[in-house]
């Protein structure tokens, strides 16, 4: 399982990393001091498990779990046992008290492994999409798509690295994209919900792009967002 460690204390991160090294099914692909840095990686990489400190600067571990829906499995770590009850309200795998001893750590990650194996792995079809660009079929990871934009008889698939023009309609594309990850927000735009960074009355922002939200689509969009 691919995992990341989020803790503002370097010694705590080192300790968790050392525990991970002893478990052959764990691979640490990143360590972060705060939640925002971790979110950037979650946008780009496929992560199965996150070791998340509750007490973090700016956004606490609990606030992160409350605010974001597309997170991997979570194992909380903290010095405060008082947070345990609240932590379990958010459907986390486990809750570890620091300093974390190895037998307890192993029990927690084994629980995560069992959950991981019990969850049907999303097939290629649900993670990726093939689009016809000129005479080629190009594979796009759904997580890489920022938005899809209607351009007359064509649509533009926008990713961080480039844009792909495809001969199709927005309506047709919408049927191919997972409903829980994408939403039509305007007659000319479908957006990846996980990429939205800001929403105002009638616009939203992805990267530096301001995208209009039509009245007709606003309710659908708001219904799909994880809001407090």
């Amino acid at each position: 399982m691919k995992c990341i460690i989020v803790d503002d204390e370097k010694m705590a991160r080192l300790a968790i990393r050392k525990h991970c090294e002893k478990v052959n099914y764990l691979e640490v692909i990143g360590e972060f001091e705060n939640a925002m840095e971790a979110l950037e990686t979650l946008d780009k990489e496929s992560v199965d498990l996150m070791f998340l400190d509750i007490h973090l600067p700016e956004i606490s571990g609990i606030d992160l779990v409350k605010s974001y829906s597309h997170l991997p499995m979570i194992i909380f770590s903290t010095h405060h046992k008082d947070f345990a009850l609240e932590a379990f309200e958010y459907d986390v795998v486990d809750y570890l008290l620091k300093p974390i001893n190895f037998p307890r750590f192993l029990k927690a990650v084994q629980k995560a492994k069992n959950q991981h194996e019990a969850t049907p792995s999303p097939g290629l079809a649900s993670q990726e999409i093939f689009i016809k660009v000129d005479n080629r079929l190009v594979k796009l990871s759904l997580n890489d798509i920022l938005w899809v934009e209607a351009k007359g008889d064509y649509v533009l698939f926008k990713t961080d690295s480039k844009g792909h023009i495809v001969h199709s309609t927005l309506k047709n594309i919408l049927t191919k994209l997972p409903d829980e990850q994408f939403a039509k927000v305007h007659r000319s735009y479908i957006v990846n919900l996980g990429k939205i960074v800001d929403i105002e009355d009638s616009t939203l922002v992805i990267r530096d792009k301001v995208i209009p939200i039509s009245r007709a689509n606003k309710e659908n969009l708001m219904g799909k967002l994880n809001m407090i």
């Binding site: 705590a12 525990h19 010095h79 008290l97 300093p99």
Partner: protein, 139 residues
């Protein structure tokens, strides 16, 4: 790991009784670090060096926040120290930091914080020497 509910903060003075008490406070229990490392000396050194590098910054900030009477920031600093202290097994100092963290949030106990924080800083400075000796032993 250190389940003590109410901990009485020690009063450090120069008399022999208190100096002995201080010496007891400064004995690290490295069992956790050694279990964690599984004999990986490089890892132990990395941990100890991180402690040596970061604790002086904590001390500076603690002294600054105490002077500015920034109780919330001070409480956060005590909290941050706890990971480090628990990993190197400075159990008593950990308990002090734990108590001070909570006392910073209670207006009735701020005088206690003012009184005990310099003692904590003094002990933290001593732990740096201890950490350094542990590094030397491993090199």
């Amino acid at each position: 790991m250190f389940p003590i509910k109410k901990y009485v903060l020690p009063k450090i003075s120069e008399d022999p009784f208190h100096m002995n008490l201080l010496a007891d406070f400064l004995i690290p229990d490295l069992t956790y670090l050694q279990e964690l490392s599984g004999g990986d000396i490089e890892f132990e050194i990395e941990m100890l060096e991180t402690y040596e590098e970061e604790v002086p910054q904590h001390i500076n900030r603690i002294e600054e926040y105490l002077e500015k009477v920034s109780w919330i920031s001070l409480s956060e600093e005590f909290h941050s120290l706890k990971s480090k202290l628990s990993i190197l097994g400075f159990k008593h100092i950990y308990q002090m930091a734990d108590v001070l963290e909570e006392q910073c949030k209670n207006p009735d106990e701020l005088n206690e914080v003012k009184h005990s924080t310099p003692d904590l800083c003094k002990m933290l400075k001593e732990t740096l020497e201890i950490a350094n000796k542990e590094i030397q032993k491993r090199q």
